[in-house]
């Protein structure tokens, strides 16, 4: 097409039309956005139950600040607020998905009630198990300990136990029998004498010799059996 006055005129009209079209679309989009905002909670809930996940996003976004601020006003801790907010919505999601939601009440008061109950649960739990936080001057772990062995001591203890079993195996049979019954099976000397058919004194004597022999072997071979 030759570039003439007419050409520029036509181009001008097209551009004008395009901008008009753009304006119309823009206003339509705005209307759609306005409509989106105005969708009420019950409609969003129905949509969510029907499977529209975006409806839940809209619901959370809409009530996020109010619910979070409500929780924060009670617990005064950002981390706990996040936890309770999350637990609240997990309950909401479960109830909605199970179809157990009652349409009679309004959504926000219902969610607030769940949050409120969870806040009470949080305080109850904390009262039963109060959390102590150590400071620079005092650390609770300096007076409180865990009676379990650490992994290194546990390995050493296992090693000693195994070594000791080998040593016990080296003892004469009668002494070994008494020692195992007394130490490992936790039997009294009376029970041992009944089981082995010897007198209590003999059993005591065998135990004594067993220990003496063990000590002798340990000292002769320079075995260290301490943790």
């Amino acid at each position: 097409m030759p570039i003439t006055k007419d050409y520029f005129f036509k181009i001008g009209r097209i551009t004008h039309k395009t901008s008009l079209f753009k304006k119309r679309t823009l206003s339509l989009t705005k209307k759609v956005i306005v409509m989106e905002v105005q969708i009420e909670d019950p409609i969003l809930i129905t949509r969510y139950i029907a499977g529209d996940e975006r409806a839940l996003e809209a619901l959370i976004d809409r009530h996020n600040q109010r619910i979070s601020s409500f929780i924060y006003s009670k617990v005064n801790d950002r981390g706990i607020t996040e936890d309770i907010f999350q637990d609240t919505f997990i309950k909401v999601i479960r109830t909605l998905k199970r179809g157990a939601y009652n349409e009679e009440g309004k959504f926000l008061p219902w969610v607030m009630r769940i949050a409120h109950n969870l806040i009470i649960d949080h305080f109850r739990k904390n009262r039963r198990m109060p959390m102590y936080q150590g400071s620079d001057s005092f650390n609770i772990f300096s007076v409180m300990g865990d009676d379990k062995l650490n992994i290194e001591s546990q390995i050493i203890k296992d090693q000693i136990d195994t070594d000791l079993t080998f040593l016990i195996d080296e003892l004469p049979a009668d002494q070994r029998e008494v020692l195992i019954m007394r130490i490992y099976k936790d039997m009294s000397f009376k029970e041992i004498s009944e089981n082995t058919g010897v007198s209590i004194n003999t059993a005591l004597g065998r135990m004594r010799y067993a220990l003496i022999n063990l000590r002798k072997v340990i000292s002769e071979n320079d075995i260290i059996l301490t943790n």
Partner: protein, 47 residues
């Protein structure tokens, strides 16, 4: 008369859950499936 009112009023803290928390909830919702068998509802999390 002395003014006993403080100038600053206690401001209400506006808090919002983090986007990660919201994202977690949306993912949880997507993964949660409820199946009903003989009137008993079962929850399954398809991760």
């Amino acid at each position: 008369m002395e003014k006993i009112y403080s100038k600053e009023q206690k401001q209400c803290d506006l808090v919002q859950a983090k986007p990660e928390t919201v994202q977690f909830l949306l993912n949880f919702s997507k993964s949660l499936e409820i199946t009903e068998v003989n009137g008993i509802q079962f929850e399954s999390n398809l991760n």
